[in-house]
Subunit: 239 residues, 2 copies
DNA sequence: TGTCGATCAATTGTCGACAATAGGTCGACA
DNA sequence: TGTCGACCTATTGTCGACAATTGATCGACA
């Protein structure tokens, strides 16, 4: 490490583990730390300039969030993105997205609408900036604002966890989305959802949420279907 | 503390935090450790006979599970049972129960059915034993066997977290249930669910799951409605 | 060449000490 | 009597050291 990152955290105690947690969380969500990558305490201790205790505490908290995997006497790893589980992920996201968006259409206040609209403005700005981490972060913030309007913390927490996994999946194929979608990234769908919530149209909100999940799924499947490699003629295999 | 509980854990390292985690987890779920109760590291260190590090690690893991609340520089507390949120909890449990039970009816194998049936046998035995912790534990295990048959780990994890909270709520009113239900505790409903899953009757499984949630809700609301106090005549308030 | 046991180094889990924090108590003052 | 500041104590957060674990390497042997 060329230099230590000894973050001067604002606020008092717990500045150790929290600063480590925040940085690692961001790095994992943005795929700066790749799925499966090793996170050993000694390296992190040298990198952040804290002793191993706050490092360990940050890692345990990240494990609680599902972002890393810790096993006894083993080096912690960044949680792998399990593509085989993608269909299960999509099914769960669909449920969470539909329930939270329905609840928002049912229970929203004027203040909620304002917050959702502001989150969408931030999202559109992030799209313009080209900053992938900001894009995935403001997308999540938009959906969290909707979930907040739905007023069920259990459903919201479930949704948040799924959205975080979705952020990592998004980062796997941002380049692809930008090339094939003129960088649009589903902004129209967000606007439609806002309209349905404003109109208290629960069924429409549900349908839009469902379509939103399907779009996300189809984007990723298209990405997986893509063949990046140059055409290489290996000849016809002999049987 | 009259004597130390220095548990001789099987297996190697991580025996420190894990044994603390297991004991505290059980105590919290059974309400032996009451909601809101303080868990200070020094006392736990003396109680379990470990230094504070594994205690802290266990507490951070318990916080990740939602069983305790840790804040910087504050003594950790057992997560309160928030009765105001009970309706939100029931709505979320309803979704999770229905989705997992539907999926089980759709995707179950013969091995799944066997596992579910065995879990129900354990549950019935626990009812007979009168051991509240075993009753709530085997009830959870029954529903987890169903969720396993549904094959969506995201929905299963969500359900598990809700069932754990439900265990604590169950422990709040076990005596009441036993007095008013002849200790039956919904065993017939479990059998009906097994039948629907065996028959791959997805819609019936869904309905039964929904009724199961409603029954749980109604039991608890009846319990809250009960007046335990002896009748005390304070006279008619003067306006 | 493959297998096994011994050794070593780098990690992880825990220990106890030190420093920082927060709440309670006490005395002074208005 | 209520408020404020100083002091004290018991906690929490972090430190660095020690012991345990694990994987890699090496040498011996068949």
């Amino acid at each position: 490490m060329a230099g230590q990152v000894r973050t001067m955290a604002t606020g008092g105690r717990a500045a150790g583990w929290k600063s480590v947690y925040d940085v690692l969380s961001k790095d994992i969500l943005s795929l700066t730390l790749a799925p499966g990558e090793l996170l050993d305490e000694m390296s992190l201790s040298r990198r952040f300039g804290f002793s191993r205790s706050p490092i360990r505490e940050a890692l345990i908290r990240l494990a609680g969030d599902g972002l890393v995997v810790t096993l006894p006497n083993r080096t912690t790893i960044v949680t792998p993105v399990d593509i085989v589980q993608f269909p299960k992920y999509v099914d769960a996201l669909d449920i969470a997205q539909r329930v939270n968006t329905r609840l928002a259409a049912e229970l929203r206040t004027e203040a909620d609408l304002k917050a959702i609209a502001e989150a969408q403005v931030d999202f559109v700005a992030a799209i313009g900036s080209g900053d992938h981490l900001a894009m995935s972060g403001t997308n999540k913030a938009f959906h969290m604002a909707i979930a907040r309007a739905g007023r069920n913390s259990y459903m919201m927490n479930f949704y948040e966890r799924l959205l975080d996994e979705g952020r990592r999946i998004l980062h796997l194929h941002f380049d692809y989305i930008e090339r094939t979608r003129d960088g649009r990234l589903l902004t129209d769908e967000h606007e439609d959802m806002i309209d349905a919530i404003r109109a208290r149209d629960v069924e429409r909100a549900d349908r839009l949420a469902h379509m939103h999940t399907r779009q996300f799924r189809d984007n990723f499947l298209d990405f997986l279907r893509m063949n990046y490699a140059s055409s290489v003629d290996l000849g016809t295999p002999r049987s």
